[in-house]
Subunit: 719 residues, 2 copies
Amino acid sequence: MKYLIRLLACLFVATNMAAQEKALTVEDLIPGGKNHANFIPKTDYKVQWYGDELLFSNENEAFIAHPQKPDGKKPLLTKSELNNLLNEKEISLNRLSFVSLDNHLFATVFLSAKEKQVYLDLKNKTVAFEIQRKKDWANTDFCTGNKRLAFTLKNNLYVSNPEGKIIPVAEDADPYIVYGQAVHRNEFGIMKGTFWSPDGNYLAFYRMDETRVGDYPLVDISKREAELKNIKYPMAGMTSHEVTVGIYELSTGKTVYLKTGEPKDRYLTNISWSPNEKQIYIAELNREQNHLQLNQYDVGTGEKVRTLLEEHNDRYVEPEHPLLFLKKTPEHFIWQSKRNGYNHLYLYDTDGKLIRPLTSGDYDITDVLGVDADEKHIFVVSNAVSPIEFQAYKVNLNTAQQTQITFEAGVHHPQPSLSGKYLLDRFSNRTTPLNVDLINTSVSAKVRPVRLQTAENPYKEYALPDISLGSVKADDGKTDLYYHLIKPADFDPAKKYPVVIYVYGGPHSQMIKNNWLASARGWSLYMAQRGYLVFSMDNRGTSNRGFAFESVTHRQLGVIETADQMCGVKFLQSLPYVDKERIGVHGWSYGGFMTANLMLRHPETFKVGVAGGPVTDWKYYEVMYGERYMDTPQENPEGYGQTDMNGLAGNLKGRFLIIHGDMDPTVVWQNSLSFLKACITARTYPDYFVYPGHGHNMGGVDRVHLHEKITRYFEDYLK
Amino acid sequence: MKYLIRLLACLFVATNMAAQEKALTVEDLIPGGKNHANFIPKTDYKVQWYGDELLFSNENEAFIAHPQKPDGKKPLLTKSELNNLLNEKEISLNRLSFVSLDNHLFATVFLSAKEKQVYLDLKNKTVAFEIQRKKDWANTDFCTGNKRLAFTLKNNLYVSNPEGKIIPVAEDADPYIVYGQAVHRNEFGIMKGTFWSPDGNYLAFYRMDETRVGDYPLVDISKREAELKNIKYPMAGMTSHEVTVGIYELSTGKTVYLKTGEPKDRYLTNISWSPNEKQIYIAELNREQNHLQLNQYDVGTGEKVRTLLEEHNDRYVEPEHPLLFLKKTPEHFIWQSKRNGYNHLYLYDTDGKLIRPLTSGDYDITDVLGVDADEKHIFVVSNAVSPIEFQAYKVNLNTAQQTQITFEAGVHHPQPSLSGKYLLDRFSNRTTPLNVDLINTSVSAKVRPVRLQTAENPYKEYALPDISLGSVKADDGKTDLYYHLIKPADFDPAKKYPVVIYVYGGPHSQMIKNNWLASARGWSLYMAQRGYLVFSMDNRGTSNRGFAFESVTHRQLGVIETADQMCGVKFLQSLPYVDKERIGVHGWSYGGFMTANLMLRHPETFKVGVAGGPVTDWKYYEVMYGERYMDTPQENPEGYGQTDMNGLAGNLKGRFLIIHGDMDPTVVWQNSLSFLKACITARTYPDYFVYPGHGHNMGGVDRVHLHEKITRYFEDYLK
């Protein structure tokens, strides 16, 4: 196994560590900690678009400015004015959110005691209108066109008008028939279950039938006598839920179900309305997840009209983005696909004809920001410059010509104004906490963006560890894998240090970016402060590196990822200041699975490991994510066998702590418990801990306890 | 706090340790270990009574001898003869058990493949008769009088005749109506749910209605998708089950339920038939467990005839023994009671008149062996000589005169012959593994018993640790508490040793006896071999020391027990070879609760603790045991508060490992999980481990893993 080292950025963080004294604590560095909020880079004012004008706000006041004169801020509203307007006492301006209604912009605020949502006309300082929104209404979805609010109560779906009159849309006495909620366990980009038509005449919604899905028993021990809380959890290869799509017409009160037909355990993803409300589009994927059809349905009859396009891949196809229709040429839409190896944009017409590819090349489009008002350009973000840098571009919709519009090396989070003439760019890199810049999308790179806000380094009084970025070659000998390496502030290259590897390594993740502190987590900084080197690296199988990079792990999750991580370990072992006898690893969820892989496949290398909420056997994981990467246990017994940590339990040599939440609905508890059982049978000796009442992740103040617990384990056995 | 030391036996175990080499392993010392059976003292032959003759048997052969000529053994049966008789291949003679049918003695053997139980006439080497007994029949209860077998299937009750014809006795479609099984969670000495009348004309049985008892959810993770296994678990203060008693008459097939009346959550204990089958007696206890009535019912009508006697105690009354009727004077029976402070025998008549107390004094009668054929004497065992010695006595039923019939210091397990003229005495003491002696009950102490068998010391090739017995004063300054102290075989009084305290400390227990190795557990020997001192002591609240000693803990479990254990700790700390900085504690169940008490009430004393299956809060414990000692949470909020380990979670300083089986139906998992939650909230850091698929105790080979796990924890943190 060969590796090459390419250091991208080995500069020390600029400030001088030695002169500083204050030590960071878990309360500072861990989310949920008492002081954690102080360590998130903050600007004096939040800046956002208000149409094409800039709105600056903090807790007490809001200003408005024109992008051409950003310094010419005009007072818009004060906290006391807001409270007078709402007849409230302590609403602060940073609680306002914004909504666009037919290009009229309103600020909204939810008054929980009054159970209403108020829409404010900020410029005229008036209440435009308000709607009822009861506290127990879930999955609320407000329609800008008709001022109706869709919501769910238990698993039924309702619509209310502004006066609070409630119309049932879909109800069922069986609690396992679920209406109006996200389906397919939030895979395929599905984050909600209701979809208003553009003018608000229809509400499309998901119906999910879970009656044939197995119950997984969770137990809530916080009750006087422990209570059963079943969840529906379809495991890989088992009977899954069945989804259909209903179209409710407001004027008639009638619902038409789309005739999506058999087999019923297909995935109906990325529901998209045609601008004229006559058609609806669904990206339909077979249960095997290797064949996609983009289908058009007739809203009036529910009949399928045509298949616009199909995509097939022997590994998998993963649609994640709805259609983006153009307004001026509503028969045209933009489709995102990895069909050519990377995520790119394609302009299609509604007959399914490809008009032109809009982007191409060996990089992923990672974000689509929107189309300008003229519909000449689409704004996107990609990592074309470097896998760990994210820059914005405008792409000409007619010529596909791409123009870079952000430049500073690092990670940009731009947001276009209503017209698209400007971008607000939240930017950071390894040494820059946060800048908010204003960019004119029509001018060239030579014009510097206007700096609107900048955040102070929240660590300026602390001895911040040193963070460097670099890359090593993957186990294939050619692919660059990016890492960050964190060293104690008082690092002495003549000493030997223990190393903790923090790993995730699963799909849909990228831990290493050139953003603030190179994405280093607070716990990594904490461990570096305690005298450890901390190393993290994105192996193959992770995101934003194209389909081949991501999908090479297909049917054998953990195998190639582990081999890649071992390339990182070899790099570490080549460093003179690394103590090869003291290498540890920690990860959560997929990272817990990776930790188990590293501990059990390389017991001679790792002295200590801590795995949180780990998958231990993919047969216990759910259908959607599980079968995409592993196929079913029936189809891929070798792969399931090869990746089953329980079968490797006898290899354990180092100290290995496994942690699980007892109500984990994502990686069910059975994973780590069955691993314990396998270790007991194999006569190996892991350690274990449980966070009662917690799900897949420990949130709130308990997260601080968790990280102190993990730290102590390394202090006990690795230090 | 004062203590006095009274060493009872400080002799080293006789053999010379230094010359020996072999080391003991967990496989030798822990039940479930590969070699564990080799370390149980064994005699060449099993000896048991065959009427008034002695039956010697091993795997291959059986002999018979008269007690007057015990050396004159005559061959009775060989393995091959047995196999020929049964038409089987590999039944060994040590698989025979014995049953008495109207004073005809038969050996029985269960042939599982044939699903039948065979009754053998050994002397004539014939099959006397056989009955059907299917594998799924549970709670089988064979009647010697009518050759009928009562059994349960699911929760229903049946009787079969020898030909296998099955008659339903009591059936219910509701699975929470349970017939013919032990009730009241096996408290009050209840070990079964069917009671044949003396001549076999009636079957009395329990009916338990659990429909209103809360479900406690256990989860079986061994299934492909974890499965719920609810148990009915009434927690202290909650709605309990309701029990009634039915009398099934074989000749008519009719069942009469005893009219036990209200309130329905009383305890119906110690069902006893009158010799003439006309009455049945029940020791009835109120839910508060402080008032007992011994009631007589009419078998024909189910009506209550009379209350024979009542017992009341502000703490609790705990009936544990059915009535023992005399045969020659069937209107007389023997009743056991602690009413006068210690467990003693009382001769009553069936009008409820006390004829005479049979025993009295400041000691407990711990076993009633039976009455001789002449009904002149009753044979009992008591610890009158010393709390840790158990000797047999015969008590004259007319004069209450007591005569000691075993003498050697130690623990005797005698069994009278059919006539009562002889006892077979299985005896051991600290240095004697096992002797089987024959005792003539009519001769005086001067006549030595006849030694029939003796077991070799199974540790003779090993460097066995040194075990001494002693006592310290309890926290009251006056009560003697007995301990054993185990020292490494190579103990050097000039060194400083770490100490592990193995604790139980709960009701119905006595850990310290002068029997083989002074009851030292294999793990204690193992730890001593690894260089620890191991100490165990019976605190107040444990058994066989009278009611006041046992019940002083009432409404405050753990408080006085902990204070007493600290007297043991003070004694240890006074020993020059004890390292005061390295004191650890381990216990299981009540002992886990005690470990938690010691760790949390005395955090400065204990560096390491391991608690298995611990109660942490008595509100999670069941009604019967819980309310006896603690009353209900509603009645005793202070007591529940004071004894709640979760409230002390913030005190934790030492290393504390908690271990639980994930299917524990006795001390439900909620106990240790809620304690973890309390520690997390209090920001303290216990350790944890789970044995998946196990109940309250880890059995089989996993018990070896468990003890290796526990050992490693002490090795990590106490050594």
